[in-house]
């Protein structure tokens, strides 16, 4: 019941919000914020909610409307409620009602992606979550970004669909997510093709070099509330897919693709960091930093080490929290100063201490300051990857993390520090609604940084789901050599 409500509730209420007159933005935002708060409360109150399952197809393969919490998805659902809450509160302007409605629909669809226990249902929500983002994008003056987003992600979605169909035909059932013990007979040939389809979809969505070109443009053009949610949660869908679907069921193929994924992840790490250093557009800086951070998570996922995968889960949540804050705060800056060109901004900190404080905290979390959430994830990932025997990738990742300090501090310093620029309009500091929007997220990454224990503990389960032969890997630290191989089916 809980899980069904988490998926259908936001979608239905989001659709109903269109009945609110366009001018009554306050009502739309309050309703939407209440709904997101409620979803958060619902998930917190009932962490062991029973699965909801309804039979769907029996031919050509078994499929069900099967929703339920998994070890990773529970945290993502919480993260999603928080970011959507922030996004709804931060929405401003004449299109706020539409944005609030689309955010709710997006929340419901993405809850569906993460809660789906059936592969076909997963694919359904995967495609569904494209639509609200596209509709928001086409309402902006830059249509190109909308097309790029749609064409890239839909190609991925269709590859996923074909792979799902093949998976269903070969194995006879798609109701498999979270059931790693099911022994599936996927032949050599089919396995390769199905893996290719899934991997393409997940790499595009994350995104990972070389499929990332839609991302900077999309992130730059989306309104801040929506980009906060997309960057915080939608980008995790691909990584989640690797963890929940590819590693458990296509372990052999994943192990074979390990080198390729490491190369792609490493390129994304370095390329993202360098591009973030060179970029002048504040939102694009964060976009490229995401590319870099998500590359790190990809390394962790494919390292086959339980520790690194635990780190990956922690870092997924952490990255969601701080990137949402970064985008919301930068959105606030853009709204005030009517530009997001770093070169034209400066000295805002003196007049906007609260805004500067929020940006500071998020930037510190992003660069991995100990005590904040970014650090807990990074250290687990680096240790895990290193222990698994991948010395060089770990060193490269370390370089990228050092670069992260450079671009994050540069971003903060050029916007907030320095002499005040005379030609910038003077506006109010962070309003209380904006503060309310980012407060839970900031609290989240501080708490997760101080005590990542609960997530780490749950993530261990996720890691054992992801890495078959859990017994071998439960002592991953002692058996570093074994963990080089991602696993066998």
């Amino acid at each position: 019941m809980t899980v069904t409500a988490l998926v259908l509730g936001p979608i239905l209420i989001g659709l109903a919000l269109y009945a609110v007159p366009r001018e009554r933005v306050a009502i739309a935002r309050i309703v939407a914020a209440a709904v997101t708060a409620l979803t958060f409360a619902l998930a917190v109150a009932d962490p062991h909610a029973a699965d909801a399952s309804l039979h769907w197809l029996s031919r050509p393969f078994d499929a069900s409307f099967h929703l339920g919490f998994g070890p990773v998805s529970y945290w993502i659902v919480l993260l999603l409620s928080l970011t959507t809450f922030g996004g709804v509160l931060a929405a401003s302007g004449p299109r706020s009602r539409d944005i609030a409605a689309q955010l709710l629909i997006l929340q419901g669809a993405m809850n569906g992606v993460f809660l789906a226990k059936d592969l076909l249902l997963f694919a359904l929500f995967w495609d569904l979550m494209l639509i609200p983002v596209f509709l928001v994008l086409v309402g902006t003056p830059h249509a190109r970004a909308g097309w790029k987003y749609l064409i890239y992600n839909l190609s991925g979605g269709l590859a996923l669909l074909l792979a799902t169909a093949a998976f269903g035909v070969v194995t006879g059932s798609t109701d498999v997510i979270g059931r790693p013990n099911v022994h599936l007979m996927i032949g050599e040939v089919w396995g390769t093709w199905i893996f290719a389809g899934f991997a393409f979809a997940f790499l595009v969505k994350t995104p990972v070099f070389p499929f990332h070109t839609w991302m900077p443009e999309t992130y730059a053009e989306l309104p801040p509330p929506v980009v906060a949610v997309v960057s915080a949660v939608q980008s995790k869908a691909g990584l989640y897919g690797f963890l929940a679907i590819v590693l458990p069921f296509l372990g052999v193929e994943a192990a074979r693709a390990q080198t390729l994924m490491f190369v792609l992840g490493t390129i994304a790490l370095i390329y993202g960091a360098l591009a973030a250093l060179a970029e002048r557009d504040a939102k694009r800086v964060v976009a490229y930093s995401s590319l870099s951070h998500l590359g790190l998570i990809l390394l962790a996922v494919f390292s086959g080490s339980v520790l690194a995968i635990q780190g990956a889960v922690v870092y997924m949540v952490a990255h969601g929290l701080f990137s949402a804050v970064l985008f919301l705060v930068l959105g606030g800056v853009e709204q005030r100063e009517e530009t997001r060109d770093v070169a034209r901004l400066g000295g805002l900190g003196a007049r906007n201490p609260k805004l500067a404080g929020a940006l500071m905290l998020a930037a510190l979390a992003a660069l991995g300051l100990p005590g904040l959430a970014g650090f807990s994830g990074e250290i687990l990932i680096l240790t895990g990857v290193f222990h698994a025997g991948f010395v060089w990738p770990a060193i490269v990742a370390l370089i990228a993390i050092v670069l992260a300090s450079a671009y994050m501090l540069r971003l903060f310093q050029t916007i907030m520090n320095g002499p005040e620029l005379p030609d910038l309009p003077e506006r109010r500091d962070l309003t209380w609604t904006e503060a309310l929007a980012v407060a839970p997220l900031v609290a989240g990454f501080v708490l997760l940084g101080v005590n990542p224990g609960p997530v780490v503990a749950v993530a261990e389960r996720a890691a054992h789901v992801a890495v078959p032969g859990a017994v071998t890997f439960s002592h991953a630290l002692n058996a570093a050599e074994d963990s080089r191989v991602v696993g066998s089916r």
Partner: protein, 480 residues
């Protein structure tokens, strides 16, 4: 079910034919009643369309009652069973929807005529659904087409006459192919019955005949490369007629194709004879979607989109699996609702229900007429194969069946075509949702609100079929 082979028809034969017969006779009643009206008036339109819909509904009910039974009438020339009944119901629903769209189109004194012609055309499609020999196929096809030639010209637009003439000439050519193929097959086997063809020894003559027959079918289905007539004819014809053609012609022809592919070919040679068909399907999915990219007129766009969608449906036949046939029918039903819904939206955007509606007319529709824009978006999402619609569910089912039948390459092309089509359909969505200066946009509204009924029914069906993909089980084409 026994029937009087070679002797006089018996009562049971007429029972099998009753629905098609009813649909063909109701227009006579309708025209007779229309004689009592003088001059113009909404009443006259209402009565004509009302009688037409009543006749169709009655036929639909009779068909539903016949569903559990199998009839082989007139010596096996006309076979009524699960297969033909499902196709027939699709034809009937599409025709009723067309009538809802056509109420406001044309002069008051023309409506009885157009309604009659639509019903006759539909009865042709009903014949095709049950046709089990080459003669009855041709009979149904000509009945369907002859009425359509007239209907295409039923508009004061000059392009309508062009459309009718083009359709007449090219469709006649297609019929020629079909007839020549039939003649060769008859020459090779000495029989026109599908059942006899299925057991015949394959000679080059038979293969050639089957090939020509398939060319004729491909013409009618507008599979690439036999598709060139479709956009021009669709563009010129009145809007409801275009909507009708886009579904009923396809349904009738697909029924013939399915019966031919599944039940009229010797099983050991069927895959060789049908192989070119899959290539045509692949071409249709690619070329149809690519050509649709450039279109700005809605009818032309939907014509090209229809070419691609038929490609998806024919893909399901690949390998001639029973499941594939069921999914083809399911997708056809889904296409009926998605496509008819889109046409109904367009009808609501033109004052007389039949104007040239170009893409610019959709500018800012989401801000002017949000309900209409929401409905259109939903239908386009469905046509693009995204959830939560039958477009999504139907596609995944077709993909699965073609993968399991060993036609993974065709599934790959289906995916590629769908990726291209996203741009086609979302171009319209973008136009509706983009911020534009509304001052220069022509905001026309249809006088007739009945298309709203079609929009609502189609939207509900598109959604519901997507969640509960009903696939009737006894649809294998029987040939007694």
């Amino acid at each position: 079910m026994s029937s009087a082979l070679g002797s006089y028809p018996v009562a049971a034969d007429y029972v099998a034919l009753l629905p098609a017969f009813l649909v063909a006779v109701v227009p006579l009643l309708l025209l007779f009643v229309d004689l009592f009206f003088r001059g113009q008036g909404a009443m006259r339109r209402g009565v004509a369309v009302g009688i037409g819909i009543a006749g169709l509904v009655a036929a639909g009910v009779i068909l539903a009652e016949q569903y559990p039974h199998d009839y082989a009438a007139f010596g096996g020339a006309f076979v009524q069973g699960g297969f033909s009944i499902v196709f027939s119901e699709i034809v009937i629903v599409a025709t009723v929807a067309t009538l809802l769209l056509s109420v406001g189109v044309g002069r008051d004194d023309q409506v009885a005529g157009t309604t009659s012609l639509l019903l006759w055309s539909a009865s042709g499609a009903l014949l095709m659904a049950g046709a089990a020999n080459l003669m009855s196929v041709f009979l149904g096809l000509e009945l369907l087409s002859l009425a359509l030639y007239c209907l295409c010209a039923m508009s004061p637009r000059r392009t309508a006459r062009e459309s009718a003439l083009k359709y007449l000439i090219l469709s006649s050519m297609a019929s020629g192919f079909l007839l020549y193929g039939s003649a060769l097959m008859f020459g090779a086997t000495g029989s026109v019955a599908f059942a006899a063809l299925a057991t015949a020894t394959v000679t080059p003559l038979l293969a050639l005949g089957a090939g020509l027959f398939l060319v004729g079918i491909a013409f009618k289905l507008s599979l690439v490369p036999f598709h060139a007539w479709t956009p021009d004819v669709y563009e010129g014809a009145p809007l409801p007629v275009t909507a009708f053609m886009s579904i009923v012609t396809k349904a009738g022809t697909l029924a013939v194709l399915a019966r031919f592919a599944y039940a009229a070919l010797p099983s050991d040679h069927a895959s060789a004879i049908l192989a070119p068909l899959w290539v045509l399907a692949a071409l249709s999915m690619l070329v149809g979607n690519l050509a649709a990219l450039a279109q700005t007129d809605m009818k032309r766009l939907l014509a090209y989109s229809g070419i691609a969608q038929v490609g998806y449906i024919v893909t399901a036949f690949a390998g001639q699996t029973a499941l594939g046939l069921r999914y083809a029918i399911l997708y056809l039903a889904g296409y009926l609702f998605m496509n008819m819904g889109a046409f109904a939206v367009i009808a609501l955007m033109a004052r007389d229900g039949d104007a040239i509606v170009g893409l610019p007319r959709f500018a800012g529709l989401a801000y002017r007429r949000p309900w209409l824009a929401a409905a259109m978006t939903f239908f386009l999402i469905g046509l693009a194969g995204l959830p939560p619609t039958i477009g999504f569910t139907g596609k995944i089912l077709i993909l699965s069946t073609s993968v399991s039948a060993g036609y993974a390459w065709l599934a790959g092309i289906l995916i590629a075509g769908t990726a291209i089509s996203a741009y086609v359909y979302f171009k319209i969505v973008r136009t509706m949702f983009a911020q534009t200066d509304l001052a220069h946009v022509r905001d026309e509204r249809s006088r007739n609100a009945l298309p709203w009924v079609a929009v609502a029914v189609c939207a509900v069906a598109t959604f519901a079929l997507g969640l509960v993909p009903l696939t009737p089980s006894n649809v294998l084409p029987l040939v007694k």
